[in-house]
């Protein structure tokens, strides 16, 4: 029985370390290869030993697909390809391929430099890993091998983020990665075909949230920043997610321009600056507005925002705005969870005196958006990843109720198995098709039609042909199958006369059929042959021998029942 199997090694009922194994049509695909911000040892990476207990990963996996450049989706990639030893192809979009190494380098820097880790992947490994990448365009069908094909769709979220359709034969799975169903200031909204996959694997970060209008949040944000600056204060916004930095830069830049503000805005050099270069380069991936204004002015060439210099790093003012989630084990997490005293290095305890604001600028689809995407793709079933169990539970029920499809939410290491109906392709002969067309009915995808023919199985191929062609191809002679039946009639007359009576009776009853009386005394109606014979024991009874081919079965039975009723009395 063919089936699709899905096992999350990461992102199963949690957020971080996205890594989902999919087996479809005998092919094995790994979706994303992320790291977990919360760990400092090997557990930050998915436990790849569960994939294959013996044998090499390269033999087991047909390909790896990376949805976007965030580290919880690609951070384990160099480890996987250069240290664990996966040597097969890795697919991602062009912007992801360009920006991925920047983030991986930064991640390496934090791990090696700040945390002093040995045995971390090297810059050379990052490069060697990126060399295994096959970059894809949106909506381009990429043939991984003869049977497996993948196709990328725009996902919003961050530059280059894509949803992927994975297809083997008639079976398909769509993996959304992270996506956003509403356009923001620099990216468009996610979109997908009505591709009716067997399974849609969707992120569910905001499974229970219906987000307020983004405009309100932005106004709120700008108001807070403005007020703090007006008071002569400073605002520190630690934007750690690439992509969000660009979004907030555009937001602030436009506001500063409109309000004619003079206070300087700085962003830290390094990551954002490097990434800006690629945002300028891949302008086609941004939203329509940015692309339109691009000719006059590139939105990523900021006027008010300058590179940050270490010299400005004196006391960072009275407010900090955290624009997203902070993982356990970070100062950000402590501040957000309300701890007002922080122990710093050297047993020094600092009091948190500044105002702390949490404002979500995360670019994920909310519950409405997720439902919208499910509606758009029309999958046969849905599987939730990249979210919290409790919230998933809620969304699962909602999806099952609204779309009447099954919805799964496996934990990490748990396998979901979906049986799929086997699809057997059958070729059809031109002759047969032409004959169907001759009946004047045009093919209509919505109205299945019954087609008669002979199914030939040869060289593990199936073909439907007309029976004549089948006979010819197989070198077989046609056998006629005839049904026969005896009907007893009470008629003392001679056989010839009985036959004559039968003929005239049928002639009068079956007006639309061709009824003939043959010279040898037998009667035919189409292919049906009727002969009258004397009864061996009873001279007052005649036996009618009726025979017909299977093509005229209906008429044959009709005629027999007719004859069984007897002949009308002739006026004698």
């Amino acid at each position: 029985m063919p089936e699709i199997r899905v096992t999350p090694l990461g992102a199963g009922q949690d957020v971080g370390r996205s890594c989902i194994l999919v087996s479809i049509g005998g092919k094995n695909v790994m979706l994303d290869c992320g790291m977990h911000m919360g760990f400092n040892d090997d557990r930050r990476f998915p436990d790849f030993s569960y994939i294959t207990r013996n044998g090499r990963l390269t033999d087991f996996l047909d390909c790896v697909i990376i949805s976007h450049f965030h580290l919880d989706h690609c951070g384990a990639l160099p480890y996987f390809s250069e240290m664990v030893g996966y040597d097969g192809p890795i697919y991602m979009t062009h912007p992801t391929q360009a920006i991925c190494p920047i983030l991986l380098e930064d991640y390496r820097k934090i791990a090696v430099d700040k945390k002093g880790e040995a045995n971390f992947f090297t810059s050379q490994m990052i490069k060697d890993c990126m060399k295994k990448v096959v970059a894809v365009h949106l909506h381009q069908t990429v043939q991984v091998d003869d049977e497996l094909e993948i196709k990328a769709y725009y996902a919003g979220h961050v530059l280059g983020a894509a949803m992927f359709q994975i297809k083997v034969g008639s079976e398909s799975v769509v993996y959304t990665g992270d996506y956003n169903m509403t356009p923001d200031r620099h990216l468009g909204a996610a979109w997908i075909d009505k591709c009716r996959p067997n399974l849609l694997i969707t992120e569910s970060t905001y499974a229970t949230t219906i987000r307020d209008s983004k405009r309100c949040r932005e106004r709120d944000f700008l108001k807070k920043v403005h007020e703090a600056v007006e008071r002569g204060g400073k605002v520190l916004i630690p934007v750690f997610a690439l992509g969000r930095a660009q979004e907030l830069c555009i937001l602030l830049e436009t506001f500063w321009e409109r309000m004619n503000l003079k206070a300087p805005i700085y962003f830290s050099t390094g990551l954002t600056e490097k990434a800006n270069h690629y945002y300028k380069l891949f302008i086609t991936w941004t939203n329509q507005k940015i692309r339109k204004t691009f000719v006059q002015r590139n939105m990523f060439e900021f006027k008010h925002i300058k590179a940050f210099d270490r010299a400005f790093a004196d006391n960072p003012g009275p407010m900090v705005i955290m624009p997203g989630y902070c993982v356990q084990g970070t100062v950000g997490h402590k501040i957000l969870s309300g701890q007002r005293k922080l122990e710093m290095e050297g047993r020094q305890v600092l009091e948190v005196k500044m105002q702390v604001e949490y404002m979500s600028f995360s670019a994920h689809a909310d519950a409405k958006g997720i439902m919208q995407l499910v509606g758009q793709a029309e999958p046969e079933s849905v599987l939730l990843v990249h979210g919290e169990a409790k919230k998933m539970e809620f969304l699962k029920q909602k999806i099952e109720q609204e779309f009447r499809v099954s919805c799964y939410m496996p934990a990490n290491g748990e396998t979901v198995t979906l049986p799929t109906s086997p699809s057997i392709p059958v070729g059809i002969s031109l002759g047969l098709l032409k004959r169907e067309m001759a009946q004047g009915l045009l093919p209509d995808a919505k109205k299945p039609r019954l087609l008669h023919g002979t199914l030939i199985m040869k060289d593990s191929n199936f073909r439907l042909v007309s029976s004549e062609q089948a006979l010819k191809e197989l070198g077989l002679a046609e056998h006629q199958l005839r049904f026969t039946c005896r009907v007893h009639l009470h008629d003392p007359r001679k056989e010839q006369e009985t036959a004559m009576r039968v003929y005239s009776h049928l002639k009068s009853v079956l007006k639309e059929h061709c009824v003939q009386h043959l010279p040898d005394g037998s009667v035919t109606v189409e292919s049906i042959l009727i002969q009258a014979a004397a009864h061996s024991e009873d001279p007052g009874t005649k036996v009618l021998l009726v025979s017909w081919t299977y093509q005229d079965e209906e008429l044959g039975s009709h005629l027999t029942s007719l004859l069984k009723k007897g002949l009308p009395q002739a006026a004698s």
Binding site: V15, R43, D59, M130, R310, V327, T330, K334, G338, E345
Partner: protein, 764 residues
């Protein structure tokens, strides 16, 4: 456990035991386990349970059937197993739908089994399972039941438990266990298809590797032989490889295993009608050979099996226990044939060959695997005509416009390995004529690759070139061929490649070219008859202006190497060179560039203080400084290049490895100065004080004014007054050590509980 954590623990346990309380994220649970592990390792886990009854409460609580989240359940199981490693108790659980829970439960079973038998069976190796403790008997009958089961997952679980047991424990009781269970395991082979074949292979190999079991079980080799013949070719491959890797094993079984491994290649050779001589030596069994139709029936099967076979043979080739004689020639023949089938250059004459060709043509997966194996085969020799074929097929791949970037990279790697292994002409240390001929054809191909629109290809080409120059840069034949090609010129152009990775590789290649005196300086129209910009100036320009870190790091590596080798451009005015480089490097935003700057400083320091450094035999030898007579004299050049300003600033660098490296350098220097007599840091007091004040300001994060020229005496005085050891200790601690503490972890878990549900977790 410190009292603060003890106080937090009960609250934590009640949160975990409450199914209504969601646990924020399971990294916390993992970290909690880490912490408990350190505690139990340091002391008694019984004591831990006695002092913290809440833990026992938690463990008892999770055993009750309830709606507990799998993550808390798996956490508790693992905690229980951890505690059980010292004390015995606890129930077991297996067969959960989650891989992680099932695996944790399996490991727990192994632990309990081992523990329960540690005492009783140790003294009496002859003790039969019937006399084992009840707990162990229960586990054994559970495993037996699972092995008899019709459900594959259950069989897999049982096999995995046994594999782990025999892999970890070599006590005599394992012999009794295997003796009892091996008939059941052998029964699995009678089923068609063999269930849980992968796990079965793992188990049999772990039994064969166990010194206790392999020596005693007489039926083991028969079972292995039987398994080899029962499994499908794909499943049998790993088993065959495992058998061949065994230190001791009957020769007949090894021959059988090798035949299984070679079967697909035999098939290829047969289908392509190779010389029968090759076939005989490959087909070890001499029995009826399998045909392409049965062994490689479809494209997917053919590609998969060939890739696996090539990978297995690649692993086997370098091992001392590989089969002998090693069929080097047929393996080379088969690999070359596969590569030709993939490229479409083979012309099969038989039907079977035609099928293979249709399956393999253009198949990147097989190409990669075959090129990897071909590279490994370079470690052996082969008949001349086969080696010619190897070079021909490599050239074909390097030339072909159809070769994908990953395939090209592997083709470059294999080529380098083959060139490296080709015998050198006796008398003259040049490439042998054979390889030389190949090189003459290869060098015209390289420029095309260096101009490829794919950065991956340009980069692989440059990496290959750098390797080649490093190996043969000094040899006349290679030099002539290289100089006659466009390669050096193109390499120089790639210093301005749009892709930073390529620029970095071009820097490394140019560094090598220049070191070997292979840099061409043609009179270009822009510099009519004049000197082209020196490479040193060009690289300095890259170091100070390139927007990406990789090329700048590459420049620092080249410079360090040049200084070490006494490169002509450097040896002219070493002090000026070092001063320039350190000045630029000190301002670099990339910590690796600054760290590499310290490496360069260390080389200079060693050279100045009269330490001989390793020289490249072809480079101009720098004047070796005679050991300076006094310390002041020794330090003066270091002062002139402002090495101390650079090192002192680096000492307070915001990037820890830079500070650590500088600390090491200064400690080394201080140790060196101690070996000299002379001035004991008698610098003028005000000057020393002002330097110390500047250092304090730097430590506080102030950039401040440069120190300017420092007298050696001042440097020595400052060095001796600094607490470098203390600084080194402080630097050894990671920046997140406070957030990593167990107390911080417990606080975080508890802080999140209340807040959860209101705050949205919106990672990225």
């Amino acid at each position: 456990m410190d009292p603060e954590c003890s106080q937090l623990l009960p609250a934590l346990c009640s949160v975990l035991a409450d199914p209504r309380q969601p646990v924020a994220d399971d990294t916390c649970l993992e970290k909690l386990l880490d912490w408990f592990k350190t505690i139990t390792e340091a002391g008694s886990s019984l004591l831990l349970l006695q002092e913290n009854p809440c833990l026992l409460g938690l463990l008892c609580h999770v055993l009750k059937p309830q709606d507990l989240s799998p993550r808390v359940l798996s956490f508790s199981l693992r905690l229980a197993g951890m505690l059980a490693a010292q004390e015995d108790c606890f129930q077991y659980l297996q067969g959960d739908s989650s891989l992680f829970v099932a695996s944790a439960a399996g490991q727990l079973l192994v632990h309990i089994l081992g523990l329960s038998l540690q005492g009783p069976a140790e003294g009496h190796p002859g003790l039969q399972t019937g006399d084992w403790p009840v707990c162990a008997q229960k586990i054994v009958s559970h495993i037996e039941e699972s092995l008899r089961s019709a459900a594959t997952p259950q069989i897999t679980q049982a096999l995995n438990v046994l594999t782990t047991t025999f892999g970890h424990c070599h006590d005599p009781w394992t012999q009794v266990l295997w003796g009892r269970l091996s008939p059941l395991v052998a029964c699995l082979l009678e089923k068609d298809p063999v269930p849980a074949a992968h796990s079965l292979v793992d188990l049999l190999l772990s039994v064969a590797r166990s010194p206790v079991l392999s020596s005693s079980s007489s039926g083991l080799w028969e079972t292995l032989a039987q398994t080899l013949s029962h499994l499908s070719p794909t499943q049998a491959g790993p088993l065959a490889l495992g058998i061949l890797k065994l230190q001791e094993c009957p020769q007949v079984l090894r021959a059988q295993a090798f035949a299984v491994l070679l079967q697909p290649l035999t098939c290829v050779l047969e289908a392509t009608a190779q010389a029968p001589g090759l076939l005989d030596s490959l087909d070890g069994t001499g029995g009826a050979s399998v045909t392409v139709d049965t062994l490689l029936p479809s494209k997917a099967a053919c590609v998969g099996l060939l890739c696996r076979t090539l990978a297995h043979l690649e692993l086997l080739q370098p091992l001392p226990q590989r089969p002998s004689p090693w069929p080097q020639a047929p393996l080379l023949g088969a690999t070359v044939t596969i590569l030709r089938l993939c490229s479409g250059s083979a012309t099969p004459t038989s039907d079977a060959g035609g099928h293979l060709c249709a399956f393999l043509v253009g198949c990147v997966r097989v190409q990669r695997a075959a090129l990897d194996f071909l590279g490994t085969l370079s470690q052996g020799t082969g008949p001349r005509e086969l080696v010619t074929q190897v070079f021909a097929v490599l050239l074909e791949y390097l030339t072909s416009p159809d070769s994908s970037p990953t395939v090209l990279k592997k083709a470059f790697q294999a080529t380098f390995r083959w060139l490296q292994s080709s015998p050198e002409t006796p008398g003259c240390s040049d490439l042998d004529p054979h390889a030389h001929l190949f090189l003459r054809e290869l060098l015209p191909v390289l420029p095309k690759r260096l101009c490829s629109p794919c950065w991956e290809v340009r980069d692989s080409g440059l990496e290959f070139l750098t390797q080649m120059i490093g190996r043969w840069g000094g040899q006349a034949g290679f030099r002539r061929a290289l100089l006659a090609s466009e390669v050096p010129e193109l390499t120089e152009q790639l210093l301005r490649d749009p892709e930073s990775y390529v620029r970095a590789s071009a820097v490394a290649a140019m560094g090598q070219l220049s070191s070997q005196g292979l840099r061409v300086t043609p009179a270009s129209p822009e510099h009519p008859g004049g000197q082209q910009k020196s490479l040193l100036a060009e690289l300095l320009h890259i170091l100070s202006t390139d927007s990406e870190g990789f090329p700048r790091r590459a420049v620092m590596h080249v410079f360090t190497q040049w200084l070490r080798d006494g490169h002509a451009d450097v040896a002219g005015d070493t002090e000026r060179f070092v001063a320039r480089v350190l000045q630029v490097a000190s301002q670099d935003l990339d910590w690796e560039v600054r760290a590499q700057g310290l490496e360069l400083a260390l080389v200079f320091l060693e050279q100045t203080l009269g330490r001989p450094s390793s020289h490249c035999p072809y480079a101009v030898t720098p004047p070796v400084a005679a050991p300076p007579s006094s310390l002041a004299q020794a330090l003066r050049p270091l002062c002139r290049v402002q090495l101390f300003e650079f090192a002192f600033r680096a000492l307070f660098d915001c990037d820890r490895p830079v500070a650590q490296k500088s600390c090491d350098l200064l400690l080394f220097l201080r140790a060196q100065t101690a070996s000299y007599g002379g001035p004991q840091g008698s610098g003028s007091v005000p000057e020393v004080a002002s330097v110390e004040a500047a250092l304090q300001r730097w430590q506080a994060g102030d950039q401040g004014q440069p120190l300017g020229y420092l007298e050696p005496e001042v440097v020595v005085a400052v060095l001796r007054s600094m607490d470098l050891e203390g600084l080194r200790g402080a630097l050894a601690e990671s920046s997140d050590r406070v957030e990593k503490s167990p107390q911080s972890l417990l606080q975080d878990v508890l802080a999140t509980v209340g807040a959860l549900g209101e705050d949205e977790a919106d990672c990225y």
